[in-house]
């Protein structure tokens, strides 16, 4: 599903964000990407959605060689790989339902499909009653659930979450991770970058740890820190 081969990223200011990364993630896997701030988690995530290009190496996602993707094919690629951000990135001037529907609109899906899928997806994330409210009136956890609904409504191959619980309290964070695992159970590959220890320890999924741009650990059913719980 996802394959990174000898991937390195050096930013223009000379910082080595990633060094010789080799990583393979299978279909329907749930992977935690852990590491302190500046370890390279965000850079890795940006490479996957082609917000950044690697300095060297190959990035292959869902059969697409991300580097060789022509610009006009980029929108089609991004419709297969959904993204959830720490700061939600909802459209403040659109209602919850419109935000979620936007994921289908950008893909030019017919209105009938939108009318059908939006309530269904909002129900899945438990936000039916907020369909017509604006995102900024919701709590952080609710906003993140809107973002997740938007990400999954297109039934993407891969869902990438970059610190999705970074702005949330522990209970809400647990709810969000439960939701992501539920989505994973429905068949979507989920990659979650985080430095939330408890979350990772509780979930017992595959853990990939980055230190200074290098993978130092890749453990199935792992914890946040090696050998400790």
């Amino acid at each position: 599903m996802i394959l990174l081969q000898n991937v390195s990223k050096v930013y223009a200011n000379g910082i080595h964000a990633l060094r010789n990364i080799n990583l393979e993630i299978a279909r329907q896997e749930f992977v935690f990407l852990v590491g302190v701030s500046g370890a390279g988690k965000s850079t890795l995530v940006r490479l996957l959605i082609r917000e950044e290009l690697p300095t060297s190496g190959a990035v292959i996602v869902a059969g697409h060689n991300v580097l060789q993707l022509p610009k006009r094919r980029l929108p089609l690629y991004r419709r297969k790989v959904s993204m959830v951000f720490q700061d939600f990135r909802l459209l403040p001037n659109k209602t919850v339902a419109e935000n979620v529907a936007m994921a289908l609109r950008v893909a030019h899906r017919p209105q009938r499909e939108i009318d059908e899928l939006v309530p269904e997806t909002l129900a899945l994330v438990g936000l039916t009653q907020y369909a017509d409210t604006f995102p900024l009136t919701l709590s952080g956890g609710e906003q993140q659930r809107v973002a997740i609904a938007r990400a999954i409504i297109r039934n993407p191959d891969v869902l990438i979450a970059d610190e999705p619980t970074g702005n949330l309290d522990p209970d809400t964070s647990a709810e969000i991770v439960d939701l992501l695992m539920q989505i994973n159970g429905l068949g979507t590959t989920v990659i979650m970058a985080t430095h939330d220890k408890e979350m990772v320890n509780r979930a017992r999924r595959r853990v990939v740890e980055l230190v200074q741009g290098e993978i130092v650990r890749d453990e199935v059913g792992g914890t946040y820190q090696y050998g400790r719980t």
Binding site: P75, R79, V106, A107
Partner: protein, 295 residues
């Protein structure tokens, strides 16, 4: 059909966007209207000036007053002789009756003034138009000796100088107009850029969701056109009122010549403002959004 519903969806999206960002919308519409009104007002003044110049130019004629009893063949021969010269633009034969008619038109407000006239005292004339004052001057000198010529009337140097000044003014006017249009372009473009800039986060999110450039650009483009159209509407009303007012002033200023209210010009002005509004609104949005479509 699909294209039509796509455009309908995008227009709806543009209207909703404009409404939800109404503060920005109002500010932008005000700026666009103000700039376009300024441009329109300038065009009206420029037009008034050129009407005055046209009136002055029509007076650069050599008028040959003919003796009342001149044989028609001699008059025709003189007319042909003048027409044969390439420097002549036109020669108009004005009969005694036409001359009187003109006089009546000038004094249509006080017909009593012409009441005492029993006989037509006005001579028939040939009005020679040329853009070469020297040619008219030489003709005037020669023709004074012609037996069928009663008198010669040639505009004074003052008129010629006035025309020259007016022409310089018109030329400056075009320059100023072009400059003003550029300023309007820049100000309106900046205002639209601000509305786009305020929503750059939105554009980025849409891009990361896999929206195509078209999908992102169209609502902005239509919104820009919408701004331009409102600006055109506001400025057309104000400029229309100004034009009618200026026309009245002009009428009083050059009462000796009837100046009709030129509705064709007014419609053309409104058309120009509308096209300008659409073009600048659309182009301003297009260029502004393009900057944020590089991610």
């Amino acid at each position: 059909m699909a294209a039509l519903s796509y455009i309908a969806t995008m227009s709806g999206s543009a209207v909703v966007n404009a409404w939800r960002h109404r503060t920005m919308t109002v500010i932008t519409v005000l700026i666009v209207s103000l700039m376009m009104t300024t441009l329109g007002m300038f065009l009206v003044v420029e037009n008034a000036l050129s009407v005055m110049i046209a009136n002055l130019e029509e007076q650069v004629n050599l008028i040959i007053y003919l003796e009342d009893e001149s044989p028609p063949s001699d008059v025709l021969a003189l007319r042909q002789e003048l027409l044969d010269d390439p420097r002549t633009i036109s020669v108009e034969y004005v009969t005694k009756e036409q001359a009187l008619e003109r006089l009546r038109a000038t004094f249509q407000d006080d017909p009593d003034l012409l009441q005492p006239l029993l006989d037509n005292p006005l001579p028939a004339s040939l009005e020679v138009r040329s853009d070469d004052p020297a040619f008219l001057q030489s003709q005037a000198n020669t023709l004074l000796g012609n037996p069928i010529v009663e008198d010669i009337d040639l505009p004074q140097d003052v008129v010629k100088n006035l025309i020259r000044i007016s022409q310089v003014a018109t030329f400056l006017g075009y320059g100023l107009g072009a400059g003003l249009a550029l300023v309007a372009l820049f100000v309106i473009g900046s205002a639209i850029r601000l509305t786009v800039y305020a929503r750059r986060g939105e554009i980025e999110v849409l891009r990361l969701m896999g929206a195509s450039d078209h999908f992102i650009r169209w609502p902005f483009l239509l919104e820009g056109v919408f701004f331009g159209l409102i600006g055109a509407l506001v400025s057309s009303i104000l400029v229309g009122i100004a034009y009618i007012w200026v026309h009245e002033v002009l009428q009083q200023l050059i009462s000796f010549l009837p100046v009709s209210l030129d509705t064709t010009y007014l419609l053309r002005l409104i058309l120009i403002l509308t096209l300008f509004g659409i073009a600048i609104g659309g182009l301003g949005s297009y260029l502004s959004v393009r900057r944020f479509l590089t991610i």
